[in-house]
Every structure is written in C-alpha cells, then in structure tokens.
C-alpha cells in the first residue's frame, strides 16, 4: 500500500504568540513542531503500513526550517519524504500550498492520502480538502476510525452530536481528528535511522508548476492578539442577593443573558 501523509510545521501549542510590530507574527524563539493533527495522520499511516505493508511518504511544503519536522516524521517510521521548497511559495496561501502538495503527490504512487483535520496555527482547514480537489479524488474530513479493505475505506467521522459511517473508494484524502489514535513517539533507533532516509527537495519547476501558478489569491495583511483579559469582579453580600446582582450584571452590563 502506498500511503502519503501531508504535514505542516506549526508553533508548539504552548508557545506564547507575539506580534512583530509590522502586523506579522514573531516566530523567534518559538518551538516548532509537527501540527498535532498531522501526528494522528502519521500514526494512522504507520498503522496501515504495519497492516498492509508498503511505504509511507511524507509530503510537506516549506523551507529548511521544516526539515526538523519532516525528519521527526521519518524518525516515527515514515519511509521517505518530499519537501517542496521554492521562494515563490514564501507567502503561499492555502490554495497555493494545496496546488503544490497535489502536484508533488501526483508524481508518487498513492493509494491513500492522510492529513490532519486542521492546523493548530491558522486553523483554516482548507489545505487537505483543496489537495483532494486538485487531485480529483474524494475527501473525508475529521475521521475517528479507519478500516481499509481492498480499494474501499470505511471511515467513521465526527459530525455534530454523533458520528457518521462513510464508505469511500480509494484513493481518497482522509483528515485525522483527535481520537483517531495515539501517536507514537519516535524511538531512539528511529531517530538514528531517520538521517539515512531520503528527503527529496523539489522546486515548483520540479513538480511542474511555475511561480505564476503559485501566486497566492489571498493575503493576511494583519494579525491581532485577543484583547487582554480584564480583571474579575467579586460580588459581595449574602448568596441570594449576590446571585441576583450577578444576574443583573450579566443581563445589563455584560449583556450575555
């Protein structure tokens, strides 16, 4: 089975986000990790490989600094990687990233493509679905369980208030939701072995795109931080009186009830 996993490098979820003064996000000193939802995708890919044999290829878009995340995926047990790196992708939007991923994946043999449901940084949730569209294959989002039998995947996905069982013909793009599995840590041997595995670095030209093909359609001119939390208010007095006053404040001042 040829399995592809797409990953994105994101800030550590415990990172304190700061702005750089020009409306951008200051990434200095921040720990960079594999997007946690992508780790579920990697784990599921490795489980499929353990069950059916074959190879897991990691595909990602980004510069040198994402190499550590790609290498970590290899240390976890993925077999090889493709990293699409091109100056024209510096300000890539979701559409451009998906175009690049699709072109890179199209060059590989693939039976199934796994990705995270969403990236924890910008949270757009677009890239995997757009990649499926660009590849002309179906996609199923937020999966909690996956069974593969021949060319059919049976998938349990999360929907509001319950779950949905879906059958889909492969190849397809499936995005991983928390709960799909418990991602393994890379072992010491995995880490030592990762540097012997191939990371193929490809430019846009290598995957058959021009810089113009990847011109972003969207841009984010400004980021803002949430306004700092204001201090709490203590309502003194007897419980019944205080509760009445609380209800009044919630209705009249906070206007939440």
């Amino acid at each position: 089975m040829n399995i592809v996993v797409t990953i994105k490098q994101t800030f550590d979820t415990e990172a304190k986000i700061a702005l750089d003064g020009k409306g951008g996000i200051d990434a200095s000193g921040v720990n960079l990790v594999i997007n946690p939802y992508d780790e579920f995708a990697i784990e599921e890919a490795l489980k499929l490989k353990e069950k059916f044999g074959g190879e897991v290829t990691v595909v990602s878009v980004g510069g040198d600094k994402i190499e550590t995340s790609v290498r970590t995926a290899l240390a976890m047990g993925c077999d090889k990687a493709v990293r699409v790196d091109d100056p024209a992708l510096a300000d890539a939007d979701e559409w451009a990233v998906a175009e690049a991923l699709a072109k890179a994946i199209a060059k590989l043999p693939y039976d199934i493509v796994l990705a995270g449901r969403i990236a924890v940084d910008d949270g757009s949730g677009q890239v995997a679905v757009r990649t499926a569209d660009a590849l002309g294959i179906p996609s199923v989002g937020s999966i909690l369980k996956l069974d593969v039998d021949g060319d059919t995947a049976t998938v349990t996905r999360e929907i509001d208030g319950g779950t949905e069982l879906i059958e889909v013909k492969l190849p397809a793009v499936l995005t991983a939701q928390k709960g799909l599995n418990e991602p393994r840590l890379p072992s010491m041997k995995g880490i030592m072995g990762a540097k012997k595995k191939e990371i193929s670095v490809q430019t846009l030209a290598d995957i058959g795109l021009s810089a113009a093909d990847a011109t972003p359609k969207m841009r984010a001119p400004k980021y803002s931080l949430p306004s700092p939390r204001k201090g709490g208010k203590v309502i003194p007095g007897e419980a019944a009186d205080a509760a009445r006053e609380l209800a009044r404040l919630l209705r009249e001042e906070a206007k939440v009830i």
Binding site: P186, I191, A194
Partner: protein, 381 residues
Amino acid sequence: MNFELTEDHVMMRKMVRDFAEAEAAPGTEERDEKEEFPLELWKKCAELGLAGVTFPEEYEGVGADYISYAITVEELSRVDASLGVTISAHSSLCANPIYLFGNDEQKKKYLPDLATGRKMGAFGLTESMAGSDASGTRTTAVREGDEYVINGSKVFITNGYYADTYVITAQMDKSKGNKGIAAFILEKGTPGFGFGKKEKKMGIRASATYELVFENVRIPAANLLGQEGQGFKIAMTTLDYGRIGIASQALGIAQGAYEQALKYAQEREQFGKPISTLQAIQFKLADMATSIEAARLLVYQAAFIASEHKIPVSKYAAMAKVFAAETANRVATQAVQILGGYGYTRDYPVERMMRDAKITEIYEGTSEIQRVVIAANILKG
C-alpha cells in the same frame, strides 16, 4: 568548537521529554510516596530504545553517542530521578562493563537482551565493609572445576531484585588486596542467589535498592568477566563511565527544580507583585540558571570525551559528577527556599527533588572521592 547539539540530539531530547512528561510525570510523586519501582515505565523506556543508547547496533543497541545517553538520563531525571537512575545503573553499570570487558561470547549472550531492555541490569560492588575502599571486599569467589562458587553479600544495589543480570565483584585472593578481586556475571534465579533488605531511603524512593545475598552460588567459569584479578580495574572503569550517568541525573534534577522555582516565582504574588520582581529572588534564579549551564557544559564535555575515546574520561567524568551533584543540591535547596512553605510540603515536587538530589553526592563515588580522583589525575606524573 561548536556548542550546538546535533539535530539528532534535539530530536532525542524532545522525544525523551515528551515521554517523561506524558508517561512519568503524572505518577512521580505517588511512586515516591509509595516507594514503588517504575517497572511499567522501564518497559516503555525499553520500547523507545532508552535502555541501550550507547551500545552498537550489532548488539541491538541504538548505536548513539554518550551525549545522547546524557540527554536521556537528564530528561528522565528532570521529572523522575528514580527512573533516571534505573536507566543509568542498568546501562552504565551492567551493560557497559560487559560491553567493555566481556568476551565475544559474553557480549553475544548478554548485550542484546540488556541493550533492548528485555532484561534489566544491576551492579554489585559495594559491601557493608567495602564502600569507597573496594579492598574491603569480603564476598569471595573460589574456582572449583569449571565453576566459581560465590559467598557473601552486597549492599545498596540499585535495581536489585528487579534486575535479571548482575555484574558483581568478589575477592579471590585476600593477600593481593584490590588485585585479588574478580568480576562476574550473575543471573537472577541462580540457586543460592537471593535478596536481603530493601533500603528505605531519603530520596529516589521509587528506585529499588536491595541487598544481594550469595550462599554457595555456583556459576559457570564462562561468567568470569575479564580476568581473575581484573575486577577492581573493571569496577573503576565502569564507575568512570557511570559517573556520566549520575552527573546527567543530577543535571536533570537541577533543571527540574529550577523550572519549578522559575514558574512559581512568576506566579506567586507578595507585596502586590510577583516575587520574581524581587531582586532577592532574581539573584537566586540567576545563580541557579548559571550553575546549571556550567554543569551541563561539564556533563556534555565528559560525554563527548567518552564517545571520542581519545583521552581518558576519568578526570572529566569526576569533575562533571561532583559539579553537577553539588549544583543539584544547591539548586534544589534554593528551589525549596523560593517556594517557601509550599516548597517544604509534598504538594510541590521541589521537596522530593531536594531529597533526590542528595544521593548524587553519594553514590558511584562520593563528592569527596570525585575530588580524590580529580586530584590523582592532575597530580600524577
């Protein structure tokens, strides 16, 4: 000169830290309280390759360097020093002497099980009358045909009872003193080999510390490690490398205590502001951070020298160990001070860390013995 860790080291640190925080940290205080050996965690460590970091792949080890090993023990000890020493004693004190002094047959027989952690190792040198002075060894070994017969006992044996494989020393010719000592590989379950008292300790309470008892234990002559009379040298070389493990453990304890103190100082408010804004606290934190960095450089330097095999590691391992151990004690004590009354309670981990730190100044050579080793090295010739 390059002070940067490699990409592998960075990845290893993250992996061991993630593991330690997710799997070990939630139970550290409870295991300490109950003196409960971290057997399940040991198995998980083994699955991740942490039981055989420095041993070559031909023996199913990871084949990584001593810096990787130092990082492993440091990160485990940062959240649980008992788990750190379990790995350290197993790797440095049992697998390593077999790797360094074993013949091909012994290495093939014992190392794969130890390096993968299918079996746990321990080391028996100390006796009630033989601590810093190994010449007081009273455990005896007598050659009878193609067997050795061992009698006596060992005390304070880390991983005792739980370990499957033991490297022990015994006196074969008392008239020769240290030169009469031999080292042997002993398997749990050998008739006559039993366990005595389990020590109740001040710190590293989750680590198992047992007495080993030998009553006419007959082992095959093939289990002699090195040559007869070489036991003292084997033990001293083993400790030279082992000190890197204990230095790393001390470093991890210091780092853990410092992080607790730093976090607390930023949260705890007195006089209407966080205590981290008070210079008295700031100076403590600055001193703690500085001494930890210095200790880390010494520990990684010793680890680097152990990997390169170009110069003897003895002096550098002793320097790393004494400095890191004293740093751990100072830092953990200051961490308790910064947390004040809360730091003295078992509701916060610094109380345990202060207790755990003390042993690093005692085992695998006291701080005084480290100075003896260092002085002997710098004054020789």
